[in-house]
């Protein structure tokens, strides 16, 4: 049975200054909302954050940013956040942009014990600078290395006490790879259930990747509310 935290404060208390953390989510979908809030409260500093995006100004990772807790951000798209732009231009924040598919694969590789792999994305672009280019079957590829983290914070729909996780719809995104790539993975779940309640054939993250869990209620803010007018 995995550790079940009694508070979000307790869940993040081992995350120290200068840690590298992965945070699941695409935009604001599938982010571990309360773990992020607890990190803001903990006031831990000099974080390297690996996440596809960096939240918006007043929600998600944007809150860590506003509180100046992040030294370096590794992601693929950071355009939703004005404070991000200000800190980069002011030299307060280092940013490493990585093509989204490469980022996903680097994290997957990190969790899977693959130190490096070749990918076509980025050949002939600024991303290729300083990277090995190698030809396979007449096509050029870049060498990219795997990514791991001291802590991974993920958000799942349901999780059981063995650490098995199931995600909902597009809230899955980067969460499963990050769960595998964190030395310590903390899962915020919408619902904590008993072992055996999740269908063994339908588990997205096997429990081996998860060190602790906590149930959390999600706000699930929507960035681009887009609807069809009722007929």
């Amino acid at each position: 049975m995995k550790q079940i935290y009694s508070s979000f404060h307790e869940a993040v208390k081992d995350i120290k200054d200068h840690s590298t953390i992965m945070v699941g989510g695409f935009g604001l979908v599938g982010i571990p909302e309360n773990l992020i809030l607890a990190l803001v409260e903990s006031n831990v500093k000099h974080l390297t954050v690996i996440s596809n995006n960096c939240g918006v100004d007043d929600w998600g990772l944007g809150l860590l940013l506003k509180n100046k807790q992040i030294d370096k951000m590794i992601g693929s798209y950071v355009g939703e956040n004005k404070e991000f732009e200000r800190q980069v231009l002011a030299g307060e924040l280092e940013v490493e942009l990585t093509p989204q598919g490469t980022l996903a694969e680097k994290i997957r590789a990190g969790g899977a014990g693959i130190p490096a792999f070749y990918t076509p994305a980025g050949v002939g672009t600024p991303i290729a600078e300083g990277k090995e280019v190698r030809t396979f079957n007449g096509k050029e590829y870049l060498l990219q290395e795997g990514l791991t983290a001291d802590f991974s914070l993920v958000r799942a729909f349901r999780g059981d006490r063995h650490g098995n996780l199931v995600y909902n719809k597009t809230a899955r995104n980067f969460n499963p790879m990050m769960a595998a790539a964190g030395a310590v993975t903390i899962a915020e779940v919408e619902e904590l259930v008993e072992p055996g309640e999740l269908e063994a054939d339908a588990i997205h993250t096997p429990g081996i990747y998860v060190q602790g869990l906590i149930e959390g209620q999600q706000e699930k803010r929507i960035e681009r509310y887009t609807v069809k007018a009722e007929a």
Binding site: Y77, G79, E230
Partner: protein
């Protein structure tokens, strides 16, 4: 307001022309912005599966208000629905589909395209870099990559160039360019003009295109927006 309306009409014309690239049975990735609009014009008799790189194979229509699920968005972060028979996956699997060339077609926007198929669509030096998102993967991952964009920029300068000036998104990745004025194919011989919009002459298009244009022997009229 007249200009506004013209812009919308032009975007619709480009989107409708882009829709013709989609054949029944295709798996398609539509980029953020104008490419997303193409979905609105897909002929109902075509069976098409739209892929969203954030982990959805089978994007459906926009939800009615009562259907909105905050856990269900497209790559542009808009709330969507899933089509019948859709499948969700994680981001690594989603880009495995893309990188492994399982998609038939990607329709993306562009800032500049060069005659050799180079594409620039993600950064302008001196301006804040927002990030490439999935674009650098998607340009390598589809059997056909179509770029849709205005033929010239707001100053009237060409966007279809001998060489891109902006940092590249991908090298030699574009197969076809669709603009408000023409359709061009990247071929081994060079950039070939294959369709031209009503109201424009070949000479005018040549003038508005920095890249050398080969004129197709079977030059067609581009369908108009009406």
């Amino acid at each position: 307001m007249a200009v506004q309306k013209d812009k919308a009409a032009i975007r619709e014309m480009i989107a409708r022309r882009a829709e013709q690239e989609i054949k029944s049975g295709y798996y398609v990735n539509l980029g953020i912005g104008m490419p997303t609009m193409v979905a609105n014009y897909i002929q109902p008799d075509k069976e098409v599966v739209l892929q969203s790189e954030n982990g959805l194979l089978g994007i459906g229509r926009s939800p009615y208000e009562h259907e909105v699920d905050p856990d269900l968005i497209n790559a542009g972060k808009e709330t969507v629905t899933a089509s019948v028979g859709a499948a969700y996956c994680d981001s690594a699997e989603s880009f495995a589909m893309i990188r492994g060339e399982h998609l038939d077609l990607a329709i993306l926007g562009g800032m500049e395209v060069a005659e050799n198929g180079d594409l620039a669509n993600w950064m302008i030096p001196g301006k804040m870099i927002k990030g490439m998102g999935g674009a650098m993967d998607i340009v390598h991952g589809s059997k056909k990559v179509v770029i849709i964009m205005d033929h010239v920029n707001k100053h009237g300068d060409p966007k279809i160039l001998k060489e891109c000036k902006l940092p590249l998104t991908g090298k030699g990745v574009v197969d076809r360019i669709i603009t408000d004025r023409a359709v061009m194919d990247v071929t081994d011989e060079g950039l070939k003009l294959v369709e031209i919009a009503e109201g424009w002459t070949v000479d005018e298009i040549k003038e508005q295109t920095e890249a050398e244009l080969i004129i197709s022997d079977e030059l067609l009229k581009m369908p108009s927006s009406k």
